[in-house]
Symmetry: C2
């Protein structure tokens, strides 16, 4: 008898990140299908591409986020595609992985099916999700070091020191207030609201995000300026 060659599996997984209680967390979904591997375990939210429902892989990512995390319209960017014969016991598989950032006030609460875990103390994850998370962290930290990416983790209005704290949480270190302010101004991503906001000392200027500038960045360095 002749076994039919199985086609490779095609899925999308999403590394969803937000600042919860001020620290960077990743969103995990409980695997809910008894017929699939790791039933009941906490894993990155993911799902198979549905050619009928999804026009693109990004559509799949948005559907997964909506269904498994209850998140509506996050910042979404393709990270990498993890593929091979051994990463999923069901056979050859490819997972197109996206990462997503949402501001704290939009982060959904935990539930039976969804929870937030601090990125630095996540326990063992199923499949190759540990490696995927590490890759996502690397990317987010790298982009944070030369762009305005962390704005997607921030509310629409922030003070300089709030934003600096967000950068520090993502990077894991402290930043010079003076230099930080200079670079933010240089990237042209914030405009003053004119209002002030106090947090127990001198009130801070409140800035509004200039819309859609979260990926503004500083120029590279080898090219002549």
């Amino acid at each position: 008898m002749n076994t039919l060659p199985k086609p490779p599996l095609l899925m999308v997984d999403v590394v969803l990140m937000a600042l919860v209680d001020g620290a960077l967390h990743v969103g995990l979904a409980r695997r809910a299908n008894p017929d699939e591997p790791f039933f009941g375990a906490w894993a990155l939210p993911g799902g198979f591409v549905r050619p009928q429902d999804d026009q693109s892989a990004e559509d799949t990512a948005r559907r997964v986020l909506r269904d498994k995390a209850g998140v509506a319209s996050p910042y979404l960017e393709q990270l990498y595609t993890f593929a091979g014969a051994t990463r999923d016991a069901r056979g050859w598989s490819a997972s197109i992985v996206y990462y997503a950032l949402v501001p704290a006030h939009v982060a959904p609460p935990g539930s039976e099916a969804f929870r937030w875990e601090p990125v630095d103390t996540v326990r063992e994850l199923p499949f190759d999700h540990g490696r995927i998370l590490a890759t996502a962290l690397e990317r987010v930290r790298s982009k944070t070091s030369y762009s305005a990416l962390p704005l997607y983790l921030a509310p629409a209005e922030v003070t300089m020191s709030q934003l600096r704290t967000i950068y520090e949480q993502v990077l894991g270190g402290t930043l010079e207030p003076r230099g930080f302010e200079r670079r933010m101004v240089e990237m042209d991503i914030l405009e003053p609201t004119g209002r002030l906001q106090s947090a127990g000392g001198k009130p801070a200027k409140v800035y509004r995000q200039v819309s859609g500038r979260g990926s503004a960045q500083l120029g590279p360095s080898l090219l002549p300026r």
Copy 2:
């Protein structure tokens, strides 16, 4: 009657680049299968993942390069995955795209089935290969501006001005000899052979590539140094 839902197609395409006659070229393969779209047209070399033959997507990329371009062991890096319902007339498809760099002396000659085309004057390509090529160029130029990536386009031994010319060809512009030399030294990717090599004027120092350092890079700029 009930149409069976077709699974999505999974393929790998490769943007192969080399310096031919000193200018950056991309390798194109003639589409050889009469049963497939764009039969006879010149396109990026690609092929379906073969779960039986390939352990990983990178394996598929290497197989494609070997079979369609006759290239053995190039620098290979995943670029992006292009996926969606409309990019291939046969149905929902995902192409995991890699880009590859080879030094000029390893670049295979043209044939009935393979040819080199200058990256800036490539005619219309089938599928979304035009967009894929543009994305690859963007990535290579971006990495070139802060890393030693172009070493993979160079022979094992080079002079400073040869290497500078390579960078200039990739970036499309001229670079200051002084600053260029400083940055190369800083990246610690070359060691002197002690030999000299003349090209009609003062002989240049010949350097040897420090193995496996083609992706050495300068640090980012937002982080404290």
